[in-house]
């Protein structure tokens, strides 16, 4: 564990569509830490904290990144999307619903990451092949083994023609 550096910075970003700001953040803090603790985004999951499992994936300007390997200051003046940004109040996003309907959620811990990476893929490529889906999602590990159902969920969402 690395001790926090004393130098601090203020971070302004768009988080799930809202402009937010956080002051006095040590420049050595990771993005996952600030998202979870300062902004209460507990949907960003700690799987390993060293970039080997993908549970902490968020979208930075629409691109999936491991938030455990990003510094919080890297998000300054950028757009961050976490799983909390997908649902509309208590109404799930159709992609989230597709995951549930296709039994693509077991313990649920990797699910936020799976959904965000799927969304990023579908935003670029609305009709991905199975191989493209597997490749795009290969950076997220699911120990429960939901892989096949996740592919089903993405394909079924894509087949609905929804964006």
């Amino acid at each position: 564990m690395i001790a926090e550096v004393r130098e601090t910075s203020n971070i302004t970003m768009k988080l799930n569509g809202k402009s937010v700001r956080c002051d006095g953040i040590s420049v050595s803090r990771t993005l996952i830490g600030v998202l979870r603790n300062e902004f209460g985004c507990t949907g960003v999951k700690n799987g390993c904290e060293e970039g080997t499992c993908g549970s902490c994936t968020v979208l930075l300007d629409g691109i999936p990144i491991y938030s455990c390997l990003a510094l919080a200051v890297n998000a300054n003046n950028k757009e961050v999307t976490t799983i909390e940004g997908l649902s509309n109040g208590s109404t799930p996003h159709p992609l989230q619903k597709s995951f549930v309907d296709n039994y693509a959620v077991q313990c649920g811990y990797c699910t936020p990451a799976m959904i965000l990476v799927s969304k990023a893929l579908l935003d670029k490529n609305p009709n991905p092949t199975e191989a493209e889906i597997r490749n795009a999602l290969s950076g997220v590990i699911c120990r429960c083994g939901s892989y096949i159902k996740v592919v089903d969920a993405v394909r079924s969402f894509s087949a609905l023609g929804k964006r």
Binding site: K45, E49, Q106, S138, S146
Partner: protein
């Protein structure tokens, strides 16, 4: 804020964060420990060492257990903290501080003087008289090198070998497999006076409560354990470990809640891994394939202590002796051996996968030598519905065995008979030309199907608006038991699943349950749910009978309405509940399942088609087919997910996953996902999982447990497929590229004057 609250997301007012100091040595004694400087660090509120905790065993029974009806005294092994350290990573001290950084810093201020002892890592070494001993009673749990932990015997194996036409004797090895759930172990402890609440990532909350109450000297009702949802377990998080007790102790010392969340690197040494096993199998066959004798000796490397006591060895013994129970002469010995390694007592099938792999490899090898189709060899010998299992497991019921159907359908699915057309591997001349070799293999598998002690309780209660709440003890670790149990409840009560809310795994509900493991939730927990609902239904009908002035036996509940079979008069369930409330009562029911038997077995058959890259040794599974006998399936979609998950974990067990440790120091070398390879999206073969139509007479609505058995045939099916491809067999898993390359060079024969290599086991 995400809506599902995992324990690692919990924040309580005033909460402290714990970090743990762990032993750098595999075997050592703490000669002296000085925590004074750590205690003085600003922000530190509690430091705990072996001197501060109750001197109590944390294992479940520690004093007694029941093995096949006999009460046996079981020695306790693990204390909360001990002066003696038994693996690299063993617990030396804990610190609770305002934040993790401070706690980590405080660990660096703890001064420890260690007396290093010689460690032992190899379980066969640990059995020798000259070996260092982990415990005073020696290195065998509940036994000695001469007296195995468990022994089962039927008939006379010596005689059975004498009458055999073919006897094969082999030694097999399997390695530690780490469960690696995505949410690392986490607990939160909070005291309010003499009342302790624990939020834990444990699969047996009621067992944890019992142990906590014993260890801390509290009445049962003063301990509350909540394990309602957490990120995976698979059996590796069945029981509490020192972490939970240390967190509770530090919460008591500091007067503040304490959260202990372990890092990914601590995971492989903080749950229980699948044990390393060394298995000797000797089997005797007649020329026509009839098994005349089967002798299995399993050395189970359990590591530094043994949380499941005889639980896992019993599962091993069941499959090692019952899959071929028709054989008149069977013997099985299991030695549970301590070594200075992280705990390896089992998960996902709790011993069955470890025990099935050697036996099913043996059968495949025998089929080749006997020139009998491997499927026909199994059909000739496997256990069947109604078979008598005395004297080994007289109270285990062989009431539904769907193996033949699974084998036949799986064979068609994989194209098994095309394989036979080209001859089995021992007949074919496999010269391994070109870059790739393809093979097909299969294996039977089995594991507990539940419906056995220990107990489950359930409670259902209706509010005055007719909505029901079902309380069960099963945690939600991804198996969707809330859905399955609510289906069983809805079916029994005659109401809609939408009118049922399920509350799980919080001991405040007071529905004692043995936990989610052993594939017992649908089958055993299910029976408790059904019985609770039957009791509630009786109450409902009695009240409705008063309201309708009709006899109870004329009434039934259909789609939320109580209706008279005779007159067709009816009253909706909500109206009945409301009437009960007016009269000061409530429609409710409790159910208990604790049938004192060994339960039933579930079955799975796996077929694998593999391609071996002869240059790199990499084995790619092209297609895997899993057919299971799960009795009557309650929820096909949920079961399919569990079947897929079991097979995928089995792929890791067969091909890539192996806990690697330094052979001199015992330090784990691959503790993260980077070095320890679990299957990813890119590793999944074409996979077909099917549950055949079955019916288990003892099962709730015909169902039996099925979420684990799918893993048991995977490793042997793949080993058999690789043997089919290469014409040479591995007796060790995982089949890493390095091992496969060794097999290939062995097959290709001696090169550059190295001399002929012996086939293993000859």
């Amino acid at each position: 804020m995400a809506r599902t609250k995992y324990h690692s997301d919990m924040v309580l007012p005033g909460m402290l964060y714990a970090r743990f100091l762990r032993s750098p040595y595999a075997h050592a004694i703490i000669k002296g420990i000085d925590v004074s400087r750590a205690k003085l660090l600003p922000g530190v509120h509690a430091v705990v060492t072996y001197e501060d905790v109750p001197d109590e065993f944390i294992t479940e029974h520690a004093t007694k257990y029941v093995i096949i009806g006999n009460v046996v005294k079981i020695p306790g092994d693990r204390k909360i903290l001990d002066q003696r350290l038994r693996f690299v990573g063993d617990y030396v001290a804990g610190v609770a501080a305002e934040d993790e950084q401070t706690a980590e810093k405080a660990l660096g201020l703890i001064e420890v003087e260690y007396d290093e002892l010689t460690p032992v890592f190899d379980p066969e070494e640990a059995l020798k008289p000259s070996s260092p001993k982990l415990y005073e009673a020696g290195n065998v749990f509940n036994g000695s090198p001469e007296k195995p932990t468990l022994t089962f015997a039927k008939g006379d194996v010596k005689r059975g070998f004498e009458v055999a036409d073919l006897v094969i004797e082999r030694k097999y090895a399997s390695h530690f497999q780490v469960a690696m759930p995505m949410e690392s172990r986490c607990c939160v402890a909070e005291w309010e006076g003499d009342f302790l609440t624990m939020w834990v990532t444990l699969q047996e909350p009621y067992v944890a409560r019992r142990i906590m109450s014993r260890v801390f000297g509290l009445p049962l009702q003063n301990v509350r354990v909540n394990a309602s949802v957490f990120g995976g377990g698979y059996g590796s998080r069945a029981l509490p470990q020192p972490v939970e007790f240390m967190a509770a102790m530090m919460a008591k010392m500091s007067g503040r809640p304490v959260k202990a969340r372990l890092s990914r690197r601590e995971e492989p040494i903080s749950n229980h891994n699948r044990p390393e096993t060394i298995t000797f199998v000797k089997a005797g066959f007649k020329k026509d394939g009839t098994l005349t004798a089967l002798d299995t000796r399993i050395i189970m490397n359990v590591g530094a202590w043994n949380p499941t006591e005889v639980g896992v060895p019993q599962h091993m013994a069941r499959v090692a002796t019952l899959l071929y129970a028709r054989c008149p002469n069977i013997s099985c010995q299991i030695l549970v051996v301590y070594t200075n390694l992280p705990v390896g007592c089992g998960w996902r099938s709790f011993g069955s996968a470890e025990a099935i792999f050697p036996i099913e490899e043996m059968m495949d090898e025998a089929a080749g030598k006997l020139m009998i189709d491997p499927i026909e060899l199994r059909k000739k010998n496997h256990v069947r519905t109604g078979d008598n299992l005395a004297p080994m497991f007289p109270s285990l019921n062989m009431s539904s065995v769907g193996l033949d159907t699974c084998m036949e359908r799986g064979a068609r699915e994989i194209g098994w008979y095309q394989r036979m057309k080209r001859g089995s591997s021992s007949e074919r001349d496999i010269s391994l030309r070109g870059d790739k070799a393809v093979g097909i293999g299969f294996s039977m598998g089995s594991h507990s199907g539940g419906i056995r002690r220990p107990p489950s309780n359930a409670m259902i209660e209706f509010d005055h608006q007719g909505k029901a709440t079902l309380k069960i003890g099963t945690p939600d670790i991804g198996t969707e038991q809330a859905t399955t149990q609510s289906q069983l409840a809805a079916e029994t009560l005659g109401i809609s699943v939408d009118d049922i809310t399920v509350l799980q795994a919080d001991t405040v509900h007071d529905v004692e349950d043995a936990g989610i493991l052993g594939s017992r939730s649908t089958s055993s927990m299910g029976w408790a749910t059904v019985r609770a609902c039957r009791a509630a239904k009786r109450m409902l009908l009695e009240k409705a009978s008063q309201m309708l002035a009709e006899s109870v036996d004329q009434l039934d509940v259909k789609e939320g309405v109580v209706i008279s079979k005779a007159t067709r008069r009816s009253v909706p369930v909500p109206a009945v509940c409301s009437k009960a409330k007016e009269e000061g009562s409530k429609i409710e029911g409790r159910g208990l399942f604790t049938d004192n038997c060994e339960g039933v077995l579930g079955f799975a058959v796996g077929f694998a088609k593999v391609e071996v890259d002869l240059r790199t040794g990499k084995v790619t599974v092209l297609k895997y087919v899993n057919f299971q006998d799960a009795g009557k399936v309650v929820n096909p979609s949920i079961l399919e997910v569990q079947m897929q998950g079991s097979v995928i974990q089995g792929l890791g067990y067969a091909l890539d996953e192996e806990l690697v440790y330094d052979r001199k120091t015992g330090t784990v070398l691959n503790p993260t996902f980077l070095e320890y390879h679990v299957p990813t999206f890119l590793d999944i073969p074409e996979l077909k999982c099917v549950a055949i139509d079955g019916f288990e007479p003892l099962g709730v609505y015909g169902a039996k447990g099925a979420a684990e058995v799918g893993i048991t045939p995977v490793a042997p099916a793949i080993c058999n497929a690789v043997a089919d491809a290469l014409g040479v067999r591995s007796y060790t898993i995982p089949l890493t590229p390095r091992r496969v390359l060794e097999m290939i060079s062995q097959k290709r024969g001696p090169a550059k004057g190295r001399g002929a290599q012996k086939t293993k086991g000859d």
